[in-house]
Every structure is written in C-alpha cells, then in structure tokens.
Subunit: 419 residues, 4 copies
C-alpha cells in the first residue's frame, strides 16, 4: 500500500468522528486548566486512548500521559500535544467560553489553543487505531503538561519518559496559529527562538541624595547597563542573525531623595542558534560586570539565569519529508512558515531521546476574516493572536486540519510499509 | 546698658531654670508627634508662654503657636522653633527614648532635634520675661508645625500669621547639628540648599518582548533619561556652583519579557541660588521632553514638580550682627558653618513678612565622642547625624547653648536700647 | 527546439573560444581602470561586440557600452557586466598581476572581479552570435562603468540608455564571489542590501573647558547621539529584519581644554526593504534632532544623506526561472545564495526600464582551497574576499562557469522559441 | 620702625621712577617673547637687577633670572614674576601693540599680562634697593620663563634653583586680572585649580561596517566613555567641591562604512584639592578600563597623563598676613578674590623649597569701563580677559598698584624688623 493510499484509508474515518471531536473540543475549551493542574484534561485523554486500544501510562512528570499503539514492525512515531491553559480572562464571547478559575480565583482560558492540539491528537489516535491495516509500526500519542512555563517536557523526561515508551524514530508536534484555518505551515531549520531570562541585581551603596560622593548610585549603574546592553544586538551579533534582547523591567529606590542600595533589571533574550545564544550570554555577563566596575560598585552583580527554553531547530530531512506529505495532501494549503519569535519546550523531548523532530503550525483563523484583514493591511490588529483574551480558533476547518496533519505526518513514516 | 551687660543680666537666670528645662526636654523627647499632629507639644508651649506673660495665639496653620512679649519701644525680633518629629523607630537606648507610635501604629521619634529647639526657645522666652529691665522692644516666640514635610511655615503664613503679630525687624532660627555640643556656627549668604523633587513619567507603547519594533520601550527611554540628566551637573552649571541632582528611584515593568507601557523616575535637586534652581529645572524639562522625542514616544512626559523648599540664604548684615554677638559671648566656640546640603522652610516666614533673617546651627554631640571620631577620621560613621535612629544630643551643654544662643542673638537687637 | 537543446547547441562553441577568453581575461586583469576611466576596457568590449555582429553604442554615461543582437521575434534579455577596478595595490603574486596606476600614481587592481564579469559576458555574446539558429529574440550585452562608486548605472540611464536599446523583458547580472569556482548561487527576493550614508554635524557652543556652563558641549552631544543610534537596530526594527547601522567616524575638537563648536559623525546604514530603509532614516533624523534638543543646541543638526544604493531585491519569478535553468544545467553546483551585506547599483537599470531582474553570484575560489578552509573553519581568514588585495579568482572553472551562466540564463528566455 | 612706616618710606620713591617704569612696560609689551625664548626680557631684567645692586644669577632653567638683595638679618622673601607671552595676534589697537612674530612667523602677544608682572617686580626691586634703611632681611626677585606651558617653574627647580639662592621664608606672586585697576584681591586656601590632561586611546578591532560582529567598535566605546565620564562630576565628587571634567576632543575613523581600529579622546580636569584630584584620576582610569572591558576590547586603553599643574592652595597664615597689610595700605581697594578656574605653576617653586606662599590678583581694567559693564551686566562680554587678543591693561593705576602690592607684601615680612 502506498503512503497516499494509507492516508486516504485512515482519514476515511474522519467523517464518522467529527461531531464527537467537536463536542470534545468545546468541552475542553470550557474547562481549561493551568500548567501542572491538567488533571481533568489528562484523565479524559488517558480514558480515550485506552478506549482506542493504546497502552497508556499516566502521571508522568505530574499530569503527563502517553499512549502507545504497537502495530507490527515498522517505524515508531511520537506525536506530542500540550495540555495547559493560561491565567487569562476569556473575552471571546463564544457560547463555550471559559468561566473557569484556578485555586486562587483567577480566571483561566485556553488562549494558546492547546485544547485544539489535544483534540486533534486524540482524533488522529482514534483514526490510527481504527485503521490498523493501513499502516505498520508504532504510534505514540504524548500529552504534555505545563508548556507555558517551559517545564512540562523536562518534567516528563525527568520522570523517566524514555523508559516508559519504545524509542521513537521521529517526534512530531504542531501548534495552532493565527493563519487562515485550513493551512499547514512547515519550516526546516531554525523555527522558534530560544528564550533566556536574566535577572541582574547591581549593588551600589546607599547614601542621602545630597551626598552622591558618599554612595555608589545603582540607579545610574542600572541605567547605564540598560543602555550598554543595546549594543549586544547592534554591534555584537551578525546583522543577518535574528536576536532580541528586551529589558522588561527595572526597579530601584522608593523616593526621590535617597540613593538606593541596589537596582534590579530583568531581561529576555531570544536567539536561534546555540552559538549565538552563548555569545549573547557571554556579552551580557561581561557587560554587567564591566558596568558595575565602571561605577566602582562594592561587589559584582548577581546574575540569575532562569526561564530558559531551547531554540526549536527543525531537522531538515524530517521537515522535508513531512512537508512533502503535506504538499501531496493539502496542495496549496501547505505553506512555508516564517521564523517565529515565540519559544517552545517540545524539542526537549526528542533531544532527550536523541531523535530528529519537526514542529509546524496550522491555521485557526476564519479565512474570510483573515482575507479581509490582509486586504486592509490590518492583520496585526484585527486577527487575535495566541495569548490574547479574544483568541478563538474557528472550530472548522481547524479541527479537521489538525487531525489530518497529525495523520498525514505520522503516515509519512508509518504508511509506506503497510500491508 | 550695653548689649553685653544685657546678655549677662538675662542669662543670669539660666542656673535657676536649668533643671526644669532638662526635665521638660526629656518629656518632650519621650512624646514626639508627627507634622500637623503636634497638639501636645503645642499645648505645652502655649501654656508656658502664657505663664511667662507672653500674649499667645495658637492653632495657626494647624498646630502653630505664637507668643508676643511687648517690652517698650525698640526693635521686634521673631524667633522660630519647629516642633514636629519623624516616623523613625528610636534606637538611642536613652532612658527617655520614645516608644510613641502614630495613629497607624508606626514608631515616632524626635530624630531631628526639634525637641531641643522647642525647649531652648521656651527657656529663652522665660529668661527674657524674667529680665525685662535688661532689654527693650518686642520678643516673638514662634512654634511651627510640620517642618519635615516643608509645609508648616507656609501653613502658618496662609493662616494669617502676618496679621496676628507685630511686624518683626528680623527673624531668627537655629538647628541642633552633629557638631560638638557647646559650639554655635553661623554662615552669611547661602547656607541651606533649595530642594525640588520631580516625578517624571515617560510613556512608551507596550509590546511583547520579542517585538520591540511594535512598541516604544520605556525602560530604554527612562534609562537614557537618567544618563542624560547627569549632564545637567557635569555640563550645564558652573563648576563653582554646588548642585546635586539625584535620581532616587526608577520603576518600570513586571517581568523580563514584556515591554511595559510607562516608566517612572523620581529625582531630587538641591541648589543654592534661584537662578541656578530655575536653570536646572529648565534643563530637566528640556531633557525629559527631548529623550521622549528621541524614542519616538507617543506622548510627552508627565513632569510632576513637588516637595519644593527654598534655599536658605542668610542676610549678610543680620548674620554678621549675630555672629559678632556670638563671638563676644561664646569666644572660640563661635564658628563658621559650612554650606549645608539640607533644606529648611524657615525662610518662608521672613520672606512672607518681608524682613531679613539668619539661621544657624549649634552642636549636640558629646564633644569627647566627636574629638575621638575626628582623630580617627570616622566622624561620618561614628557621629549619628540628624534623621538617624541613633541621633541623641547630649542634654548638656546642648540645652544651655541653645538657650544662650537664642538670648544672645535676640539681645543683639533688643539689648542695646535697654534701660 | 527545447531550451535544453538550445543551451547545448550554444555552449558547444565554448571549447573553441576558451583559450582566447583566458588570454583576454589575463590582459584585462593586468590593465585595470578606475570608475569613469574605463576607456581601454570599453574600447575592447565594443570592438569585440562589433566583430560578433552586435549593434554597438558606446560612451553612454561616460564609458558605458551596449551591444544589441537582434535575432528574430522573441523576448529581449539584457545582461549587464560592470567594468571598473579599485584603488588597491595588488598582492596576488599572479604572473598577470596589475602594476597599473591611476593619473595620480595610485595603484589600481581588479580586486572585485569585474574583469571576470566583462570576459564572461563577451564570451557569452560570442557564443550567442555564433549559434543564432539555436535561439530567438534579442540579446543585449551592457558594459557599465563606475559600479564601485554607485554612480555608473544612473549615469547610463541619465545619458538616455532607454532610448538607445530595445526595451528588454528582463535584466540579468552576475558577480564572482568567494565561493568554490564552478558554483552558481541564486536568491529570490532581497539579496543585496541598500546602502545609505549620513554625515551629521551637531552644533554646540564653544567655551573654555573650565566653563562648561557657558558652552554647549558637542563632544557630549555627539557621543550621546552615537549611543542613542544603537537603539535603532536594537529597538526600532524587527529582530527578523537585517539592518546594520555603523557610525564609522566621529570627530570633534583639537585639544583637551576647549569645548569645540561642532562635532561630526558619519554613519552607514544597510537595509533590505524600502520601508525599513525609510523607517531607519526617519529614526536617525528624529534622534539627531532630539539629541541636539536635549543638549540645548543653538541650532538643529545638519544631516547630509549621501552615497545611497538601492537594495537589490530579485524578482521572485525571474529568479525561479533562472534558478531552474541553472539546476538543470549545473546540477548540484546550482546553490542558494545567502543574503549579502554588500550593495550594488545594477538594479537601477531594470528599475529605470520598468522590467524584472535577477542578480546572482558564481564562485571564483579554488575549490580545493575552499574545502580545506571549510574543514578548518577558517574560510573568513583563508579565502580572500572581494576588495582584498589578494583576491585572485582561479581562471578555470571560473570563466567557463561565468560564460555558461550567462548563456543558460539568457536562453531561459530566448531558447524556448527557437527554430 | 613699624611696618607701616617702612611701607611709606619705601614707596616714597615711586613718584621718581614711575615714568621710567611706564616706558619700560610699553617697550616690553611691544617685544613679547614666547616661553623658553625670553632672552631679551631676561637680559633686561638681569641688567636692571644688577644696576639696583642685586646679586644676579641668570640662565636658570633656560632663561630664568634671580636677583638677591641681602640687607642684614631678617626674613627672606622671594617674589616671582613670569616673563613669557602667547602665540596670539594682538588686536588692542594700542600705540605700543606688538607686531612681533616668533621664529615660525607666528604673531606673539603679551595677552596674559606677564609684562605687567615683570615691570612691577623690577619697580619694587628698585624701590627696595633705594630704601634699604627702611627694612631688614633678604629680598629675592625671581623672573620665571614658560609659565603658559606649565614648565618654567619646574625647569628652574631642576636647574638647581634651591642651591643658587638663600632659602626664603615665604614666596609671593601676583597676577594682573580683569578687575578694576587699583584693586588687589587675595584668597586664603584653594585659589587656582589643578589641571590634569589625559589622552585616552581605546582599542577596538576594525571590520567592514556591514559586519559589526566581526569587529569591536571603538566609536561606540569612546562615546560610551564620554557619557560615563560625566558621572565623575555628577556622582563621584562632593557637590560642594568644584570639579571640571571636559572632554575637549574625540577622534576616530575616516569614512562612514568602516569600523575603525582605535578612537582617541582628550580630556582636561580641574580640581582644587589633591585628594579630589587623585579621586578623579582614579575614577577616570577605572572607567576607561571598564568601558573597554564592557566592549570586549582586545586590549586595555592607553592613558597618557600630561600637562599637569598643581592646585594653587594659598597658605592661610601667609595670606592673612599679606591681606592685612593690603587692607592697611589699600583700604577698600583690598578685596577677596573668588576661586579661579585657571591654573598656575608658581606654587611649584615654594613647594620645592618647602616654604609657605600666597598668590593674589590685581586689577588691570579701566575702572570706568568696568563700572559701565557691571551696571549693564556685560562684564563677560565687554571686559577683555586674559588670553584675549584685546586684553589691554590700562597702564595706570595698574603699574602703580602692582609695584605697591609687591612692596607692601614683602614688607609685611621685612618691614617690622627694620631700623
């Protein structure tokens, strides 16, 4: 059986499960759960996987769930969906909008579309299970907690993920994005940025504001540091290398008339290559120390490096294989994805397992709305993006596309050797 | 009667009131009251003034008290003492240390020595009243609220002070300082700085940290502003003109990864001449607007000018007259005061009344402690200064000196024409 | 006749002209001429074109030469080569190295490879003329002066180029680059940067160094301007958009002790999109004015915008057509070109004529040398790049490749309709 | 004989020598000589001193001259006058204006009034010699070369000055200034600033302007250094301590498009206390190193410290003694001198000899012109100051006052013990 025939056979079941999937999605959207608290979501995913015949392990890295469907000799494909929602108050006006709150009473919302990811992967799993004759190998459906905080993937790995599943040959993941629903968008090589956060505390010496010579002014020191850090992007990295360095906060002092003891800045760095990431880190450390030295600071700065996420650098060969399958199936709806300034922890899983991976986007925006905004040049303002309180993927063709992409990509590996 | 004989005659009564004054002082120190809340202090001052024969008006500008003792034709001298304490928890270890709290339960302490000022002025008033034959003219004892916030003097003026007292020929005031007890220190011309506080809010445009081109970064804007403001002192005022410009606080943003909407800095400026004060203000306003323009800010900065105090520029002739009297009485203990970077609102009173004034310091530190610290070069660290929780003037000779200075200075005007 | 057959037919003549071309190239390399002085080069090009049967116009925009070969109905392709050399003293050690000097005795060298471009285009013209039966349409060979100064293309246009030639359907150009000889490298869309130079003079007010308050310090003003300009790249353009802003010079003052009257900086900007180019220009102007305002400058800055070159943004469709032909002919040797930070004036010609264009690179480095350097990671230091005194393309397969690329690309348009 | 009688006796001779002195002065003004070239001036001074009976040594430190008049037991007073002129083209319009040029044909002018100093000291020497009975002790008249370059005093010391003269008890010097002629102005303590010049070369790494990541940008480094140096004055010295730090020049690069290899700044610092001078020097060195470290410079900065002059800190006791004599003789014309931002090398001599000193100013401006300018508030623009091409002291009462001040100050030491 050819890969194409395989795809057609598996996806033939989509019509039969569509209304169930849509209902499942609406329910999930109405019941979002924050990272590490995805108990209801995880339970539903595990329950369904078991019903489909997957061999399920749960409570991996907290609320993580993995289902394995062994279907004879052949490649092993791992597909990952993330489950967590965000502490945002939903303003979509949807009939199934979330009114959920967390333990502290804060509103919670699926503003990043992870509910779409979960639904699409469950749909694909069901179809794969229904049509075992159409493919050969092993399909792993992985439901990850806490992507937003960047901890979930590492938590599952630390909890022994590698020992609980067969070693995959490839890992796949997808994300709904503010592109027209129906499109799938792939990108070989650097696709998502690495994120590094730094908290730098500079130490001065407090004094009355009228006696600057008796103190060391941390307000001036931190300000010079902010100014100097601009040169990392403007002078220290190649103009052809995308890098962002944003100082998102600066805090020092309480009143106009006292020189404070310390100042703190927090900054976020986004890069796309490990060597650039390291070069920027080195520059930040070097500059922070030098600015404190320039001020005659009584001690060097404290530099706290936190909230790191790796760059998502899609394997070229894997991406080409998936993209070729997408072009064959989706035709013109298969596009190239531009490089993204967002970050993801998905790649932690394949890197821990030592296997290649690719990660792609698929559209969730009403195509008509998108086309109108594009015509007016107002996409940035008219199309709600992820993390926005109005982010509301249209149910269809978003869900269908997500299921199809999950099936087509898996069968790019599992479909060829089928009976 | 010569001025000198007059001084000797009035001060002859000091031995008889010393122990009463010391007890009064210790009680006052143990019962500090914050600005505009000096009801107990004001009541005691008014009660005593009335007992001495002064014609008393109270509740001027809130808790202000004025006593007038008319004693025949002659000059009229107004002497001012300030009454308020500070929200500081006392750590002097004195037997009469304050345990008082304000209405919100915050500790209160006479950490600036206003209790010494009140006691010394009441002592002088009692001596002046006891020895009316030794001088001629009018003595006004004024007890002012809320010096620390810079509002008290203006409050008394706004409440009609000028209409409630005879117009003085001169206004006098003194402040206990961390010099050896027993010393009095005068300074003609600029003596205390003007203070101006500014709160500057710069307006950016928030954006995700990964999209700086979609925002206007207020962290960079405020940092550049802090850096640029350094040039006011380094380039825009004469090197021979003392100016301090301290940015005491800077605040913007909450996390590393978002470009905030605004940033706020607070700064304090100290100057000694009105034209310099204005030039610095103009420079601050000019630079703040220009830095916002350089960043392409969506709106100009908000600049809030608050907490102003005028420079205290002692009248040359008045200061010379008082200083000459001090030299005659105190001998070597009469010194020259260096220019001070602190500020005061006393001068608002004589300026409102249109009369000359002088303001001097007198020591409150144990001379032996001071000498040891001076020998070691550790005055800055070993001698507690005003506003420090350990500020504890030695009772004597501090009180005696304060009373003597108040009498000697008044008699520099009132003593010559006496019978 | 198919395009492929057409290519084979035309290029069949290459073996017969190779040794002549190589001799021509070595002679040209030994006789470089600076921009606008390419009289010998232009004369030889014109002479050869005429011999091949082209209809030649010369002295266009100074030394420019155009040859037109009309060969029946069909598309019209213009191919441009640049002729000028650089004021660099050759250090290649080649037997045919230049010892030429210009009128002022300065050494001159073909350090940018324009001698390769001229030779390759003449070779292609000869082959096209020899095999007219293999293609149909019009072939224009254009030899442009003064590319290095960015003036030559505009000079030819200003001199009526459009009226002297048939309107082409497409314009093509190629450049030898430090890639392995034998490779051709194309890039759709932005390929070369725009260049803009700015000279900014800020006006202060001179004063004795001891009286900064009497002056306005242009050294501080220019320094703040340099610092502020860093934020254009770090904050005002998208991290995904390559932009370079280099302040290459700063000059003010003559001795340590006088505040000068003015300061001057010169800066170079490289961008790849017109809107980014304009945004950066706006930012520079805005910041320069604001920094002068911040300093209280007596007058706004003088901003001289000079030395501009447009971005080279290859037409997507044209590039794809040429790239497809290259892949068919060169196979693996047809590559994708990375975006270049260099600039070119070629695109002025097709823009003036209103036609699409593409511009590609081809290798000139000894493949063995390149491979060794690549293996050691020392390409940057071991492979001499354009404008380096040691830049020495290997004669073959560089010339063959240049001729082949010029023929193949032209026949992508002219070959299909042939008899 | 009292000091006062002594003064009257010595100065009784002034009427008799006035016209000769005025002629000498006009001749000297018309024949200015640059530093180390004062051969004519020195010869005339030596000739006159010998004629008055002084024991003369010449060619000390080049053109320096010293005359010693021993007149019995008593104190020894050294009085110094500087002889050199400036490379300025005179524009006074005076009948005796200089038309002199130096060896290179550059115009030379006595624009700093050293001709007045020489004349006044010779006049005083003549009077002292004529009236030996009126004083007792030793009078030393010293004529110093090369004050303007700050080298002359050190040159005389290095040439063995201390061994050629009796050790003085005190050293005195005076300078004509743009105050009303007839006034003498003294200042105890800090009077003239120290000067320190620094040349700082920062080392970057050159690169093409389009590849900042391959270089280290010295333009940015030097600009940040200029900006950072502003904080020395604004934050590191007491607001009550006058300090000037002016970066008078900055130079780097030649064209907009190359990152240069180095940048150089020159700066001038003026201070009034040795400890402040050292603190500022330490701060400059610290900041320069730190800014280079912040940029990742390949090597630390080169810091050349040159052109230093010490602060002139007048001995308190000496100044009081001289000022008291001036008050007695000049009455209201004896004033207090404000602190000056100029520098002098006179103090090198008494410091080398280990003796106290004082230095004062005396007026040279037409009193009527000065009064008009003062009334209009235009002194800064209407009264030509030293080093201005229009600086033209009125001959009288300038010369008389200079002679009188030189005699009165010397007799403050030598007059009391007279017969």
């Amino acid at each position: 059986m050819s890969a194409r025939l395989s795809v057609d056979t598996v996806l033939a079941g989509l019509d039969g499960i569509r209304s169930d999937l849509e209902a499942f999605y609406r329910d999930l959207h109405a019941h979002p759960e924050l990272g590490h608290q995805e108990t209801r979501t995880a339970a539903r995913a595990a329950e369904r996987l078991r019903a489909y015949g997957y061999d399920v392990s749960d409570r991996i890295g907290g609320t993580g769930v993995v289902g394995v469907l062994s279907n004879g000799d052949g490649p092993c494909v791992l597909f990952r969906a993330d489950m967590d929602a965000l502490p945002i108050e939903e303003r979509t006006g949807l009939p199934y909008a979330s009114t959920a709150v967390d333990g502290d009473g804060r509103p919670v919302m699926h503003a990043c579309g992870h509910d779409v990811h979960v639904t699409a992967l469950l749909g694909a799993a069901r179809l794969m299970a229904q049509a075992r004759a159409a493919w050969k190998g092993t399909h792993i459906a992985l439901f990850q907690p806490a992507e937003e905080s960047g901890e979930g993937a590492r938590a599952m790995i630390a909890d022994g993920l590698a020992d609980r599943i067969p070693k995959p040959d490839v890992c796949l993941a997808q994300h709904v994005l503010p592109y027209p629903a129906g499109q799938v968008l792939t990108r070989p090589g650097p696709a998502l940025s690495a994120t590094d956060n730094y908290r730098i505390t500079v130490h001065g010496r407090s004094a009355h504001g009228s006696s600057p010579d008796r103190g060391v002014d941390p307000v001036v020191m931190a300000s010079m540091l902010v100014v100097r850090l601009q040169t990392v992007v403007s002078r220290e990295v190649s103009p052809l290398t995308p890098v962002v360095l944003t100082v998102g906060s600066i805090h020092s002092g309480a009143n106009p008339n006292n020189i404070p003891e310390t100042a703190e800045i927090q900054l976020n760095v986004r890069t796309y290559q490990e060597e650039v990431r390291q070069r920027v880190k080195d520059a930040i450390v070097r500059i922070a120390h030098a600015e404190c030295a320039a001020s005659g600071a009584p001690q060097p700065p404290d530099i706290d490096h936190f909230g790191t996420l790796p760059p998502t650098i899609n394997d070229e060969e894997t991406t080409r294989r998936v993209a070729t399958s997408f072009s064959a199936f989706f035709g013109e709806r298969a596009r190239e994805l531009g490089i993204q300034t967002a970050s993801e922890d998905f790649s932690e899983i394949p890197k821990a397992l030592g296997v290649p991976f690719t990660y792609w986007g698929f559209g969730g925006t009403d195509p008509a709305l998108y086309a109108r905004a594009a015509a007016k040049g107002t996409i940035a303002t008219d199309v709600p993006t992820n993390h926005n309180a109005a982010f509301a993927p249209v149910v269809q063709p978003t869900l269908d596309t997500g299921v199809q992409a999950a099936v087509v990509s898996a069968l790019a590996y599992l479909g060829n050797g089928a009976r």
